[in-house]
């Protein structure tokens, strides 16, 4: 069995450079690669293009990279949960490309699946369609969206094995399996790393072929953005 394990975050991040394109799994703060982001925020790399559904919050998630002005461009579907993001966007130092969430997911999936582009109805007739090819299928107009890939994809799973196979938990799966496929180098960090053979092959969400490096995450803070509860009556 091919062994994908790296023993520390430095080895996991080997080869990251300024001006690269990175993908980050996660929806809000759920399922984000916390350890990779924290380590990247300590490196002297700048001019990054980051593809992620959201952009973190102040002092956590991608907010850490924004704070050090390491990101030059964000490709996302929903942003602005943090003040630093807003400041940089309004002052023009941060470029932002907003993409419908389903198109973003599919563009990552396509990138990893060898599909260069696809037609989708999402965004037709809106600003998102500007400059894009429009074609009618079954009497309905669609716009052409192109695939996305990245120099590095950083994903986070619940459990993983030494062969790189991954299992996600709850809604922390989100963009992680799609971005895992679309990275030239995909780094998976996991809450629990086990020897190959311990995970049930029937239960694998992301097969190890898509993962180049797998790492046991040191610690997970798992912040909750909107803690909502009901009373016990």
């Amino acid at each position: 069995m091919i062994n994908k394990v790296v023993n520390n975050i430095e080895s996991a991040l080997k080869g990251v450079e300024s001006n690269m394109t990175f993908m980050f799994g996660g929806f809000g703060l759920s399922g984000i690669p916390e350890n990779s982001i924290a380590a990247l925020s300590k490196k002297d790399i700048f001019g990054l293009t980051c593809i992620s559904n959201n952009a973190g919050v102040d002092n956590f998630g991608l907010g850490l990279l924004l704070k050090r002005k390491q990101i030059i461009k964000m490709i996302s579907s929903y942003v602005g949960e943090n003040a630093e993001f807003e400041r940089q966007m309004l002052s023009g130092t941060l470029e932002v490309d907003l993409i419908p969430q389903g198109s973003l997911a599919e563009r990552c999936r396509a990138g990893g699946a060898g599909i260069p582009a696809f037609f989708t109805p999402a965004g037709y007739g809106t600003e998102v369609a500007e400059g894009k090819e429009v074609r009618e299928f079954n009497g309905k107009p669609h716009i052409l969206e192109t695939a996305l890939t990245a120099d590095f994809a950083f994903v986070k799973a619940w459990r993983g094995d030494t062969a790189g196979n991954l299992i996600f938990k709850g809604t922390a799966r989100n963009f992680n399996p799609l971005m895992a496929m679309a990275g030239k180098i995909t780094v998976a960090e996991v809450e629990e790393l086990v020897p190959a053979g311990e995970l049930d092959p029937n239960q694998i969400h992301t097969p190890g072929i898509f993962i180049q490096r797998i790492l046991q995450g040191k610690k997970y803070e798992k912040r909750i953005e909107q803690r909502t509860v009901r009373s016990r009556e």
Binding site: G80, S103, Q226, T228, V229
Partner: protein, 218 residues
């Protein structure tokens, strides 16, 4: 009396049909889940990757790995399923989700909706709204009839950047229930105690009024 947000949600809940898969947007739409009519089973889809979403968790049982599209902590119903974002939007784009309820800033008489951007203000993004409105079989908008300045949100033509074209089927506001037809907005129901004149006055677009307009039954 014009309806409050809960009453709008309660009226929309009457549109739910047995065995429907439903996606509820943030805001008033979320409240629809509190008013599911007796004897009706529906499953709620949240586009971040869960089908069979349940109520908020009890205090102390929140799980950071289990949230809805509004990033709120949730629970799952028995029989729930989890999936990635591409599969989630396959459900949406592929028309497997039968009803989408969402909020809006403006709706036009041909069914265009604007709900993602106000030029000149901070733009946060469309999230999943464009995918949802481009594909849903049935879209119901839940919103107040007028904006904070008292201006009609039901227009001949949207003034704000649109989210999707020709997609809204029905609108439930604090004043009325409207259907989007080929010929424009058709007034279906009035909020209890709200007069026809009040609705017409609060609406910029033309209204098709074919017969006696009944009050909503809540």
């Amino acid at each position: 009396m014009s309806l409050d947000k809960n009453k709008i949600a309660q009226r929309i809940a009457q549109e739910l049909e047995h065995n429907m898969y439903v996606n509820l947007g943030i805001g008033i739409p979320t409240l629809v889940a509190n008013y599911i009519p007796k004897g009706i089973d529906v499953e709620f889809q949240s586009e971040n990757g869960v089908l069979g979403m349940g109520p908020f968790p009890f205090e102390g049982e929140e799980d950071a790995d289990l949230i809805n599209a509004g990033k709120q902590t949730i629970t799952m119903m028995p029989g729930a399923a989890l999936f990635d974002s591409a599969t989630s939007f396959a459900m949406i784009r592929g028309r497997h989700v039968q009803l989408t309820v969402l909020g809006a800033m403006e709706v036009s008489e041909n069914g265009d909706i604007a709900n993602w951007k106000i030029p000149g203000k901070m733009v946060k993004g469309m999230g999943g709204a464009m995918d949802l409105v481009a594909s849903a079989e049935n879209i119901i908008v839940a919103m107040m009839h007028t904006n904070r300045k008292g201006e009609s949100k039901i227009l001949k033509k949207c003034q704000l950047p649109i989210t999707g074209v020709n997609c809204v089927k029905k609108i439930v506001t604090n004043l009325a229930v409207l259907e989007v037809t080929k010929n424009g907005f058709k007034l279906l129901e009035r909020a209890p105690g709200v007069s026809l004149e009040e609705i017409i006055k609060a609406t910029e677009a033309e209204l098709i009024i074919e017969e006696e307009i009944p009050e909503m039954i809540l």
